[in-house]
């Protein structure tokens, strides 16, 4: 059972890391700010979500599980809000550099 849980954790965290790596590559390689923002927020949402999902079986209490989920929800909220905020600022400045 614990072997199964550990395998699940390793798979999910690795998949999460792939999204983080892809997001970082996008941040560095994409040509304009809007697509860079897109790469960054997707990496945050999916990457962190998979890492949190992978860590869930390692928690020994319900409180720990709820805290992990709360962290993910808060990061989702923050990153979903800051992305559009930067994008709006960019549009108001009238340039996409």
């Amino acid at each position: 059972m614990s072997l199964l849980a550990d395998g699940f954790t390793i798979l999910c965290v690795l998949a999460g890391l792939v999204f983080f790596a892809a997001g970082t590559a996008g941040l560095l390689r994409f040509p304009d700010t809007a697509s860079r923002l897109h790469a960054l927020t997707k990496a945050d949402h999916l990457g962190l979500g998979l890492v949190v999902l992978g860590l869930l079986p390692q928690m020994d209490s319900l409180a720990g599980i709820l805290r992990l989920l709360a962290i993910w929800a808060l990061v989702l909220l923050a990153s979903a809000a800051t992305g559009p905020m930067i994008a709006r600022l960019l549009r108001r400045q009238g340039g996409a550099s």
């Binding site: 808060l74 909220l77 923050a78 979903a80 809000a81 800051t82 992305g83 559009p84 905020m85 709006r88």
Partner: protein
């Protein structure tokens, strides 16, 4: 084991690289942004060393609050005229500054390298005497009991910083509303965050304060979160900044350090030493100081970010 070493090595290299880039970059905004990233990596390093309390404080105060203050400073600097070429430092001064900085770096490096092995530690004494404070977190025990004087001075420094920021109020601004006027943001992400986050953040701050007795956490971290929960609606124009001559504001600001000093004087009367707690009273007294200090520090940190009042237009 090896993997841990590789991770620590990467972290240390990242911290060094960010520190260098932060100093070397010529643009103030980039420098402030790099400083925030540097603070976050430093918090990770503290977490790797097992110092969760320091990591929390570094992330909230060192990276978060200081970062916001620096960004505010960058914005203010951008409004000023470029310094004239005459104001630039001459070669002699540049060399002297370089020698001074190098000497400080060498002295600190030498001090760290010359530490006796094993390093002198008071940790066993703290562990042996922690039971007298009824606290479970040795860091809180040190901060609030064994080295309470340091914490008292720290809280006084925050208050002093607010006084200094207010002293920068321009002509006609004294006593007015703190900081620049914020336009009201009715929709969009900022308005959403300003409405949704404060109820969650206030609960999280109280949690951080409360678990500080037995687990990593405490008043400075809680106060930073509380200050952020006030600043967000302020930035969205939903919560007006207070007038700096408001009686309640000054009372809240002074209450924490004042209560700390009063309890310290009480210790001097009852136990014969400043900041000594009577046996059995340590936990309730520490709790009272922590709660009131959290309110004082939260208000002070928020006021630091809001800045000095501006003259009426």
């Amino acid at each position: 084991m090896i993997l841990g070493l590789v991770a620590d090595g990467l972290l240390a290299a990242g911290i060094l690289a960010l520190a260098l880039a932060c100093v070397a970059t010529r643009r103030a905004f980039a420098s402030a942004a790099l400083f925030i990233a540097y603070g976050l990596l430093l918090a990770l390093a503290w977490a790797r060393l097992g110092a969760s309390d320091v990591a929390l404080t570094e992330a909230s105060i060192g990276a978060g609050l200081s970062g916001v203050l620096l960004l505010g400073g960058v914005r203010r600097l951008a409004g000023l005229a470029e310094p004239s070429p005459d104001a630039e430092t001459g070669p002699l001064l540049t060399v002297l500054i370089g020698i001074g900085c190098a000497a400080v770096a060498l002295a600190i490096g030498a001090a760290v390298l010359l530490l006796p092995d094993p390093a002198p530690s008071l940790a066993p004494q703290v562990a042996a005497n922690l039971a007298t404070t009824d606290l479970g977190n040795p860091v809180t025990g040190v901060l609030m009991s064994f080295r309470a004087l340091d914490t008292l001075l720290e809280s006084a420094v925050v208050l002093l910083a607010v006084v200094c920021v207010w002293a920068l109020a321009p002509e006609g601004g004294w006593g007015g509303v703190a900081g620049p006027r914020q336009p009201i943001v009715r929709d969009g992400p900022l308005a959403l965050l300003a409405r949704v986050l404060p109820p969650l953040g206030i609960v999280i701050a109280i949690h951080i304060l409360w678990v500080g007795a037995d687990a990593p956490g405490g008043k400075f971290q809680a106060a930073a979160v509380l200050a952020a929960m006030w600043l967000m609606p302020w930035m969205a124009g939903l919560a007006p900044a207070p007038r700096i001559d408001a009686r309640w504001l000054r009372l809240v600001l002074a209450a924490g350090p004042a209560l700390f000093i009063l309890i310290g004087l009480g210790g001097a009367l009852a136990e014969g030493a400043f900041l000594a707690y009577p046996p059995g009273w340590a936990k309730p007294l520490i709790l009272a100081i922590e709660i009131v200090l959290t309110a004082s520090i939260a208000v002070a940190l928020a006021l630091l970010v809001m800045g000095p009042p501006e003259p009426p237009r």
